[in-house]
Structure formats: structure tokens, C-alpha cells
């Protein structure tokens, strides 16, 4: 830790996020805190990124993007049917512009491993769906979070880069 770090906006945001994670279980440096939407106010969870299996120390794509399996721990999710004509919850890797949804797999309360995410930055979204094999999201979002890489900040306008102190 360094002097002044506690006042850094990024760190404050991270602290809030990690506090949310702690409600579910142990925190890790690559945990995604999951936040509930209004239809499921009691739901909460965390998605932990762990490197996918690889002969190397880390798993990456040919162009160098990290490949993660995601361990999802969720609690407080009601039966999907309480939200409508739904039978299951499905996890998705979603590009930050919401343009591309990649199905990761069904999840339940408790811990489930789904995988694998390969985007540099992504949103992790859980929706209620009519079937476990759903390839296109149709139902309401119940949990969502942002990959830690999404916390990367732009310093374009920071005084450090403008020579102002």
C-alpha cells in the first residue's frame, strides 16, 4: 500500500465491489461481484475468473487474450418460474457495447463452473431463460457484473498527463 492510495477513486470503487463480493464468499483478485436487478432483489453472487486449462502457466488465445473459466457462486436466486415462463438461469459473456452475447452455460444457486471467457473486457450477465440450451438470450437479466479489466481507467484527462500538479 502506498500513501494516498486510500483516497484514490479507483481503489474506493474497488473496495465497494469487494465488499459486495464478501457477502457471498471468499474474495479473490479476479472476482467479479454480481449485482441483482429489481426482479430479484435478494440475489447476489460472485464470478471468479480462473485460467482455463493449458500446458503453459497461463491460458491465452493465439492473439494473447486471456482464457478464463468462470466459477460462479450465486445465492438468493428464486425459482426461475417465479419470473415468468422460465426454467433455468443462463450465464453469458457480453461485450461492453452489449453487441455480442456468448453463452457460457446454465447456473444455479451454489457454485457452478462455466467457461470460457476470452474477451479483454466483458460483462458477465445471468438471465432467466425458457431452457438450459438457450443460445440467444430472451429473458430478464437477474445478475450482472464487469470483468476486473473493465476497471481499467483512462488517464487521458488526468492532471498527471497534462503536467499539472
Amino acid at each position: 500500500m502506498i500513501a494516498g492510495a486510500a483516497a484514490a477513486p479507483g481503489r474506493m470503487r474497488l473496495s465497494v465491489a469487494l465488499l459486495a463480493v464478501s457477502l457471498v464468499g471468499p474474495t479473490g483478485p479476479f472476482d467479479i461481484p454480481l449485482f441483482a436487478t429489481p426482479p430479484v432483489p435478494a440475489a447476489h453472487g460472485v464470478a471468479r475468473l480462473v485460467y482455463a486449462s493449458s500446458p503453459f502457466g497461463i491460458a491465452v488465445t493465439a492473439d494473447g487474450r486471456a482464457r478464463y473459466d468462470i466459477q460462479v457462486t450465486a445465492a438468493g436466486l428464486p425459482a426461475p418460474s417465479t419470473l415468468g415462463a422460465f426454467t433455468t438461469y443462463v450465464a453469458w459473456e457480453v461485450t461492453p457495447d452489449l453487441d455480442k452475447w456468448i453463452r457460457l452455460g446454465p447456473i444455479t444457486n451454489g457454485t457452478t463452473t462455466v467457461g470460457s471467457a476470452e474477451a479483454n473486457k466483458f460483462l458477465f450477465v445471468v438471465t432467466a431463460e425458457p431452457g438450459a440450451s438457450q443460445s440467444v438470450h430472451t429473458g430478464p437479466t437477474v445478475l450482472h457484473g464487469t470483468s476486473p479489466s473493465g476497471w481499467l481507467q483512462s488517464f487521458l484527462t488526468h492532471p498527471l498527463f497534462r503536467g499539472v500538479y
Binding site: I2, P55, F56, V60, A62, D63, Q153, L156
Partner: protein, 604 residues
């Protein structure tokens, strides 16, 4: 522009003062322990100027490995002082760092020597040696031309890489090392489980070999595979300047690997240069201490462009070694199929298809690649750089070389063998002997962290705010200005024993020969500058048991393992080779900033 210049000037003055007074909370005592081989360098006769000679010269265009121009400092045309460090395209240097230079004096090889009298580098030769043979290995000055620029550098026997030593498994050879460079040196036989006396570590197993001195090594090769040799004195200087070479140890089993049409040993490294010269090195200790020196010219076997000719259908075995000081590679072969066969000290339990090959510094991988169709295959290093300025990932692709595949078909078609993923029962049976230890509690625990003091204020401020996300692996140096200005006097990388609290060379681990040690390593993401560390253990072999609680499913014996930021990695050490063995980060500048400890394996 005038206003901007004025601001830059004021910032420079402010930060020059801050350079002295800034005190981080984690500041290490100024009397930090210097690691072996890093104490003041008697015999160094390089440039002793206080600041880099071209620190005030305007930055000129520098060519990246991919051939793209590497910009000078954006916005620096105002005439303000600029640094000689090439910045990534589009990345401005931080105004608060303008005009600063690293603490201490600088070094470049061959000071006072007429470059025209330094012999040109020679192509690498293959030294096929049998048990009992002797090799003379001389570190000397060589002249190399890289991208049209001539540099005085180092080479073993005048070659870069040094001679490729090829020996049968279980051979013992004698190497008469002669040091004819302008620094003390030694030779470490990386990954080889040899007699401790010949491990090449000054102040642990031998005295550094002074300029003009000699040392005789006897090297025994118990394990088949690919290894490499390099100095263990000021690796941050001697290694990037050319002192490295491969060793291939051949199994007596002709079917040890699948058949291939040809073999290639590729040593992947990099070099940091501006338009006119090499970027000088810190004389008293490493500069670039935060991230290690990340070159802007990528080299294969010392050259910026590697080329190979092959026939259609050829299977080529590549022995890959990362000899860079800091860079982690992600290498692929233009879409050709890649099968990973072996790593540091053994074959894998099971061969596997991979999209690319990830190599941390000092790691080796043996891969078979099939070039199925005629054409040009481009060997590339593809990574995702982080632009800290924009807060974005940016793909970065560097061309390392090309494989030209002619229309003529292979003389021998090994397509069938290539298509088969072999299981190596011998490896599994060997590993089986250690499975009873897999679930035991850790015998030792290490935390990896860093302490800093008196870094430039702008660096401290940036690090303070850039904490929301840390990459598990930093592939490139996104902030070379900050990195350059950090030296081993200000940065202390730390291996901390979680039980005793001892750090680095104060750690005094002992184990009985034949014992099996479970070592848990945690790379603390909350340190001032978290970064991945390739941890290397001399003279033994180890298994990576798990990463972040996920068990390894396909074992291979390793001597170097990458520990990503935030990760917890369990290693199982086969402590079978008696002696005092170094455990350290293989980022040369991290080791040179303290990140090393000793494991004593006491004889039975």
C-alpha cells in the same frame, strides 16, 4: 505551445525536487541488501557519466520489431528536455518525468575500444560433444549489425547465440570458460541438475570470474531436453548483449520424441535501442527495475528476422527458449498446427494441441509444427498490450520471422505421427512417485511483493491511481519512462517467507536430500507495482501442482514457473540434488533488485 513548455518546465523542476523527497509508505531502508554478484562492480570500465549521454538529445524515430516506426515522445517537439527512451506509439511521456535520468552512472560495453577493431559476430556453431569431451567457451566483445545499426556487444566464442551444445543424456563434459569481456562473469547451466560446485552463481558456488580470468566447469546432463547457459553476474547487462546459448540433451531412446523432418533451436530475446545506440545500462545496479528491461527490437537467435525453408508437409521441431530479460512471449506460426511436446526438464505426460506457445523468461518449450501447405508462414508474437493512458487493451503483433514452404513435398511424410498425440507413460510413472505428497500442507510459503523508496513523484502518483485493475501478465512495457527511471537503489523486489518473515537472501531454507518440498507462492496484487514473476529454482526439478486451487492435469518437470499477479501457485520440489541452490525471479532486473533466496539441500 509556449504555455505547454512552461508547464513542462515547472513540472520538471517540481518533480526533480520531488525525486529526492518523495517517500513511499513502503520505503525500504536505503542500505538494502545487495544480492550476490550485484555488489559494486570492480573491474567495470564503462562510461561513467552521471546521466545518459543522450538524455537531452531530441528523440528520433525508432523502428519496432514489426517494422513500424516507434514514435518519439508525442508533444515533445517544443524543445523541452526529452528522455532517450522510446515510447510506444501514441503514448506520451509523463510531463513530470521530463528531464529526469536514472540514479547512478551508466554502462555500455567496449568503452575505449575502437569498434572497427571488434570482430564481427559469427554464426552459431553446433558443438556435438560426447561424454568426457572438453569445450572452450570464451565470453568476448563482438560487433553486431542490427537493422543497419552497428553495436559493440558480447558473444560466446564470438557467436550469438553461443555454440549450441548437443550431448547425449548422462554425458559429462568439461567447459573451460574464459572471461574476455569488460565485466566479471560466470556461466550458469540453466535447468541442468549438475554438481552444485559448477552452478555458476557468484558468492554461492564460486567467485565471479574477473575480466581476464577463467573457470573450469564440469557439467553432467541427467535429463533429456533443451537447456540454456548464460552468465549469473549482471544478467541484466550480459544476457541481452548476447551471452546465451542452448544445450540439447538427447535421449538414448530413438523414439523419445516423434520423428520430424528438421529441428530448429530458437532463442527469443529483445534489445532496447533508440535511433543511434543501445539504451545504456545502470552501472552500479539495474535500471528498469520496476518491470525489467523490455526491448523494442525483438530478436530470434540474435537477429531481427528469422527465416526457414521447408517442404510441404514438413514437421519441424522447434526448441524454444525465452532469453529475454523481462518479456513474456505468446508465439504462433501463421496458423500452422502446433503440438506441445515437452518443457523445461521433461516431456509432458500427454502431448497437446495449442494455439500458441507462452514462454516466460527462461522457460523452454519443445513444439512440433506441421506446415501442411506451400506458402509463407509468419512467426509472430501476439499479445494484448495495455495502454494505461487510454485505459484500453491494444493488440500488438510483432513479426519474428517467416517459414517459406515450397511446393515440393516432404521426403519423409510424418503427417500420421504428427497427428497422433502421444502419452508418455514414463513421465506419468515418474510423477506417480510424488503423488502421495500432492495433498500435504505446504512446507514453505512465499509472498512476492515489492518495496520502493525515493521514486519520482510522478511515478508514485501514477501508481497510486492506477490500482483498480492489474493485469495478471504484463506483456509489454506500457510506461517505459517510469520503468527506466526506477533503479535497484529505489526498488527492492521481495521474496518473503510467510512463516519467518525473512526476506530474500536472509531466507535460510534447509532440506534433506531426497525430501519433497511443497512450496506455495502468492504474488501479492496489492503491492506498489504487481507484476508476474518467472520463479526459477537451480539444480532441482519441480512440478506445478496447482494454480489458484485448480490442480494440474498434465504434468511436466519444470525449473521455471510463471506466477501471475494475484495467483497462488503450489510447487512440489524434488530436492534430490545436494548443495546451495538459488531460487529467484528470472526477470533479470528483479533478481538484480534483490528477488532471490537460497535453498540448501543437505546431503543424506
Amino acid at each position: 505551445m509556449r504555455t505547454r513548455s512552461a508547464l513542462l518546465f515547472v513540472a520538471t523542476i517540481l518533480c526533480a525536487g520531488a525525486h529526492v523527497v518523495a517517500a513511499q509508505k513502503t520505503a525500504a531502508p536505503p542500505t538494502k541488501q545487495l544480492p550476490p554478484g550485484m555488489q559494486g562492480m570492480p573491474g567495470m570500465n564503462g562510461d561513467t557519466t552521471k546521466a545518459h549521454a543522450n538524455a537531452t538529445a531530441p528523440s528520433k524515430a525508432v523502428t519496432t520489431a514489426s517494422g513500424a516506426p516507434m514514435s518519439g515522445m508525442a508533444g515533445m517537439q517544443s524543445g523541452a528536455m526529452v528522455m532517450p527512451i522510446p515510447m510506444p506509439p501514441g503514448m506520451p511521456m509523463m510531463p513530470g518525468l521530463v528531464g529526469l535520468t536514472p540514479v547512478g552512472s551508466t554502462f555500455l560495453p567496449g568503452a575505449g575500444v575502437d569498434p572497427s577493431r571488434v570482430p564481427m559476430v559469427k554464426p552459431t556453431t553446433v558443438a556435438r560433444l560426447k561424454n568426457g569431451d572438453t569445450l572452450d567457451l570464451t565470453a568476448k566483445l563482438v560487433r553486431r549489425t542490427i537493422r543497419g545499426r552497428s553495436f559493440v556487444m558480447y558473444g560466446f566464442n564470438g557467436e550469438v547465440p553461443g555454440p549450441l551444445i548437443r550431448v547425449p543424456q548422462n554425458a559429462t563434459i568439461t567447459v573451460r570458460f574464459h572471461n574476455q569481456i569488460d565485466l566479471p562473469s560466470s556461466v550458469h547451466w540453466h535447468g541442468v541438475r549438475l554438481d552444485n560446485r559448477f552452478d555458476g552463481v557468484p558468492e554461492i558456488t564460486q567467485a565471479a570470474v574477473p575480466a581476464g580470468g577463467s573457470f573450469v566447469y564440469r557439467v553432467h546432463f541427467p535429463d533429456a531436453g533443451v537447456y540454456w547457459y548464460h552468465p549469473h553476474v549482471r544478467e541484466d547487462i550480459e544476457q541481452p548483449l548476447g551471452l546465451f546459448g542452448n544445450m540439447i540433451v538427447d535421449s538414448p531412446d530413438r523414439n523419445y520424441y516423434s520423428p520430424v523432418n528438421q529441428e530448429q533451436a530458437l532463442m527469443l530475446g529483445d534489445l532496447l535501442a533508440n535511433a543511434d545506440s543501445l539504451i545504456p545500462f545502470g552501472k552500479e545496479g539495474p535500471d528498469f527495475a520496476l518491470m525489467g528491461r523490455v526491448g523494442n527490437v525483438l530478436l530470434v537467435n540474435g537477429e531481427p528476422h528469422y527465416s526457414l525453408s521447408a517442404h510441404t508437409g514438413d514437421v519441424v521441431r522447434f526448441y524454444l527458449t525465452n532469453v529475454a530479460s523481462s518479456r513474456t512471449y505468446n508465439v504462433s506460426f501463421g496458423g500452422a498446427a502446433i503440438k506441445v511436446v515437452a518443457s523445461d526438464q521433461s516431456r509432458f505426460e500427454r502431448e497437446a494441441w495449442v494455439p500458441s506457445v507462452v514462454l516466460a523468461p527462461a522457460e523452454r518449450y519443445i513444439v512440433d509444427v506441421r506446415f501442411e501447405h506451400p506458402g509463407r508462414y509468419v512467426l509472430v508474437n501476439s499479445v494484448q498490450a495495455i495502454n494505461h493512458y487510454k485505459g484500453e487493451f491494444e493488440p500488438e503483433v510483432d513479426t519474428l520471422g517467416t517459414v517459406t514452404v515450397g511446393a515440393t513435398k516432404s521426403a519423409s511424410d510424418f503427417g500420421q505421427q504428427f497427428a497422433t498425440l502421444r502419452s508418455n507413460a514414463e513421465v506419468s510413472h515418474d510423477v506417480d512417485r510424488y503423488r502421495p505428497y500432492f495433498d500435504k500442507p505446504p512446507d514453505k510459503k512465499l509472498t512476492l511483493t515489492v518495496e520502493t523508496s525515493a521514486l519520482p513523484l510522478a511515478t508514485v502518483q501514477f501508481m497510486s491511481i492506477d490500482t483498480a485493475y492489474f493485469a495478471p501478465v504484463e506483456w509489454v512495457d506500457g510506461m517505459p519512462d517510469m520503468n527506466w527511471l526506477s533503479t535497484a537503489k529505489q526498488v527492492r523486489w521481495v521474496l518473503r517467507d510467510d512463516v519467518t518473515g525473512k526476506e530474500n537472501m536472509d531466507i535460510d531454507w534447509h532440506a534433506r536430500q531426497g525430501s519433497v518440498i511443497k512450496l506455495r507462492i502468492f504474488n501479492d496484487p496489492k503491492s506498489f507495482h504487481p507484476m508476474q514473476h518467472p520463479i526459477h529454482l537451480h539444480g532441482q526439478r519441480m512440478l506445478v501442482l496447482s494454480r489458484d486451487g485448480v490442480p494440474t492435469s498434465n504434468f511436466v518437470w519444470k525449473d521455471t514457473a510463471i506466477i501471475p499477479v494475484g495467483s497462488t501457485v503450489d510447487l512440489l520440489i524434488d530436492a534430490s540434488n545436494p548443495g546451495a541452490w538459488l531460487l529467484h525471479c528470472h526477470i533479470a532486473e528483479h533478481m538484480g533488485s534483490g528477488m532471490m533466496a537460497v535453498l540448501h539441500v543437505d546431503p543424506r
